[in-house]
Amino acid sequence: MNTISQEKTLLDGLAKEDKASIEQIYRDNYTMIQSLILNNSGTTDDAADIFQEAMIVLFEKSRLADFELNCQLKTYLYSVCRRLWLKKLQQMQRFGKQAEDLEEVIPVEDDLEMHEKRQLDFNIMENAMSKIGEPCKSLLEAYYIQKKPMLQIATEFGYTNADNAKTQKYKCLVRLKKLFFAQYKNGQ
């Protein structure tokens, strides 16, 4: 069992995308979630999927400015996974027996609503990214996601100088923006 300060360190690590913290959270909680899913007509593969999604929910939450977890990490993950799994069962129309309330659960509906919205945004961005084509996609990913400096990008992509790469990046960004908002506004 982790103390409160240990959990805080883990969550800080999670927000910073630190591999060791993520692995530790897996090690501490995975077995519990797996038995929840297996006991409620799920498979081990379902368990892996649900746990991954719950980790993303937690990650999104941990990056909020006013982030605070008012319960144990274990309880939070359990509640999120339970909710996610019930929803999936409903979608698949696989009503087995209802999930048993063995553990204390906390309300997570708001968090999941936010997660769904974020998921939608993520998909729209991913879609827009896949439509702008190369080298735009790689260029924007190098700058905005891998956060490489412009000079390095210029050498890697074969531009003669950083300014030329920058101009190309602007053009790509404008295209991406157009694609993104076209879908984003439709989705609202």
């Binding site: 995308e17 990056r63 602007y170």
Partner: protein, 373 residues
């Protein structure tokens, strides 16, 4: 204000890179011009979305890695768990039956094993190993090619000496697995063809002397070491070697040398096991020809999942590849050889997300022709 200037300004504003004066000027401009203000807000929102997309993408990537690691450790299982007590109970109850069944199974397997060894030769007739035999004409062409190259080299830079090409009798494929130690993977049956010389040849036609440092007949894998000083070290390999098995239906591509130049092929995983349920192999649906032995089989995310070895003689498009997990086993053995303790294979590839043409460009420098006589 132009669009690009606006993007630049908004980005620097968001990152807090503006000087105080600049910031005041920018804020002033926004106040005066509502249209501009709207654009800035939109731009900031968009950058925020893009940033969030990036970090979520990174995070998902780490999650996948962590999961793969824990699967290999056994913490995460991919098949249903069984209650232990139930197994113990069943064991106690059926101990006698199991004992009888096991001894019968033992006898049957001994008989069938001996039968299989008797009829073993028939099996090899049904599958073709994909080592290409080279005829004399092709060797002649190579010699002429090299002579012209020598002449070209002589006119420009008289100091470059092109190594005399060997009179090769067979051709297959191999690929680099450890760029710092110049180690190449190919099939054991390819190495067996080499009685005298073994060389590798890159896409530019340069040949380098190689030596087989480890050959494993049961997994049909061999590790070659490039022994030539003229061989230029390459950057770390762009593909990662997958530890888990390929899934049914996964799209894959391969690069090999069924002819004198590199050839690209596509296909998908059509069965999890090889010829007659051999678990070392998986089955692909694609076309492969003599010379493809040792070709890397790579997924769209740049993970190496197999090594092409053979194809079924009587069925079109049925090709067998050794599962990539066997490479790890072979490398463990190589590490035990003196002087090769630091052998390393990368689990991080750099192909994910690139389009196919870019991927091929990155990979082709790491795929070699393996020749010998």
């Amino acid at each position: 204000m132009e669009d690009t200037l606006l993007i630049d300004a908004a980005e620097r504003f968001a990152r807090g890179e503006m000087t105080t004066e600049e910031k005041i000027f920018f804020e002033e401009l926004r106040k005066k011009n509502p249209e501009l203000d709207q654009l800035v807000v939109e731009q900031l929102f968009f950058l925020n979305e893009l940033g969030r997309y990036g970090s979520t993408k990174n995070f998902k990537h780490i999650l996948h890695e962590t999961e793969a690691k824990l699967v290999s450790e056994g913490l995460i299982t991919k098949s249903p768990l069984q209650g232990k007590s139930k197994i113990v109970y069943l064991w106690k109850r059926y101990k006698r039956t199991i004992a009888v069944a096991a001894s019968i199974a033992g006898i049957v397997s001994i008989i069938s094993a001996s039968l299989i060894s008797v009829f073993h030769n028939e099996k090899t007739k049904d599958i073709n190993l994909l080592v290409g035999k080279i005829d004399r004409a092709e060797n002649k062409i190579r010699q002429i090619e090299n002579k012209t190259k020598k002449l070209e080299a002589a006119t420009e830079l008289p100091l470059i000496v092109v190594a005399a090409p060997i009179d090769a009798k067979f051709r297959a494929t191999g690929f680099l697995i450890d760029a710092s130690n110049n180690l190449i993977v190919t099939n054991a049956h390819v190495v067996r063809e080499a009685r005298n010389n073994l060389v590798i040849e890159n896409n530019k036609g340069q040949q380098f002397i190689a030596e087989a440092i480890y050959v494993n007949a049961s997994t049909d894998l061999a590790i070659l070491k490039v022994r030539d000083n003229t061989f230029k070290k390459l950057t770390p390999v762009p593909y990662s070697i997958r530890k888990t098995n390929a899934e049914l239906g996964e799209q894959v591509f391969m690069l090999g040398f069924p002819k004198q130049e590199i050839v690209y092929g596509e296909g998908y995983i059509s069965a999890k096991n090889g010829y007659q349920m051999d678990t070392i192999y998986c089955q692909l649906s694609t076309s492969a020809n003599e010379g493809n032995s040792g070709s890397p089989v790579i997924t769209k995310n740049g993970e190496l999942v197999g090594i092409i070895t053979s194809k079924e003689t009587n069925a079109a498009g049925v090709v067998f590849a050794i599962k990539s997990s066997n490479i790890y086993k072979v490398i463990e053995e190589v590490k035990k050889i003196k002087g090769f303790e630091d052998t390393k294979i990368t689990s991080q590839g750099s192909l994910k997300g690139s389009d196919r043409v870019t991927q091929i460009k990155k990979v082709e420098d790491y795929v070699f022709m393996v020749k010998g006589n």
